[in-house]
Subunit: 214 residues, 2 copies
């Protein structure tokens, strides 16, 4: 919120409390990454927006990569997923995802990351993987080994694909759904990916099994 | 294949047979779009690669957009999906997708389209939608109204997400799977998306239903 255009004296509240500094930096980083994309956003600009020094940003987060990972809303939201067990997991993921993306109105850092990663196979790709690994950490508490290996990558891919269609391209069936419809259908889809079918790739013999295209 | 650098006399075989012209143009277009991306590829370059005139490309395909859609291998492959009923649909989609993408080795026009669409919200986005609509046409013969509306968009999103992770970013769990493992797990995932759960977003009461984060 507070994004002064010139270098003001650091707000006194913040200088006394490292946690307030940290939060101001995270907020400034989310804005900067969403507005300018990962590559164009600079630590200096983020420090300026947060009303802190460049050194303070580095002290708190170490590097632009780490700051990005800390600022991606999903990685914070997802910690909450593991704790709140009032709803089934699929519903929690769908609700959390849609709520976060709709609030950001397409300016989510995840969208910025997808755009950067599509254009570049260097650091954005590394961040993309780092973000997924961090997400995996949370799921490790929720899924067994088999599902982590065979189902989770497709849960992640589904969210990437939905993000791409609805919030990057912004056109087509997924872009036209209301947030409520998206939440409902996404819940069903995640439910199916997490718990449906055998997960081993055994094709049911519904239409007569065969070898197909050799 | 035949991509002369200067304007040679048109090869006699092709001038006599419009179908050979058509195929040469499609092949040249696939190469050009994959190598240069949608925006940078030109009809003039495609005509040159195919050894035909610019006018001939326009006569056959009308516009760059139409040519792109015709050249995207998926839209041709997918027609075969509807016909071959020896395997269940999920297995056919997975096998067809993996085979096509692995053969293209990341140079598929679908990858070019994802990259362009990520970078641009104009014509690439329109193409992305047009491509999905063309795919939908085929599915219309295979799925009922409910599934077309509530399941198909997520099938498409899953394939976009897998493509993004494995063939654009080329890192992470999906990029590390063998083609066989990907085919097996993708089949299970598609099977679940097409036939699993209720498809209405009703969350099963597995962990006790509740309203969550309001």
């Amino acid at each position: 919120m507070a994004a002064p255009d010139t270098d003001p004296p650091a707000p006194p509240r913040r200088t006394r409390n490292p946690e307030l500094h940290r939060r101001a930096i995270l907020e400034a980083a989310s804005q900067a990454f969403a507005e300018r994309g990962y590559h164009r956003a600079t630590l200096r600009d983020i420090a300026r927006r947060a009303g802190v020094t460049h050194g303070s940003v580095l002290r708190h987060f170490g590097s632009k990569e780490s700051l990005f990972l800390a600022a991606v809303p999903g990685t914070r939201d997802i910690d909450a997923l593991a704790e709140d067990t009032r709803e089934p997991l699929a519903a929690r993921i769908a609700r959390g995802y849609v709520h976060r993306m709709e609030s950001a109105d397409g300016n989510d850092t995840f969208v910025a990351l997808l755009r950067s990663a599509a254009d570049d196979t260097g650091s954005a790709a590394a961040l993309y993987v780092a973000m997924q690994e961090r997400t995996d950490e949370v799921y490790r508490r929720l899924l067994d080994e088999h599902d982590l290996r065979h189902r989770l990558p497709f849960v992640a891919a589904l969210l990437v694909g939905v993000t791409f269609s609805r919030y990057v391209v912004r056109a087509g069936a997924l872009a036209e759904m209301s947030a409520e419809e998206l939440t409902a259908d996404l819940t069903a889809s995640l439910e199916a990916l997490l718990h449906g079918s055998s997960g081993t790739g055994d094709a049911p013999a519904g239409q007569g099994a065969g070898d197909g295209d050799g």
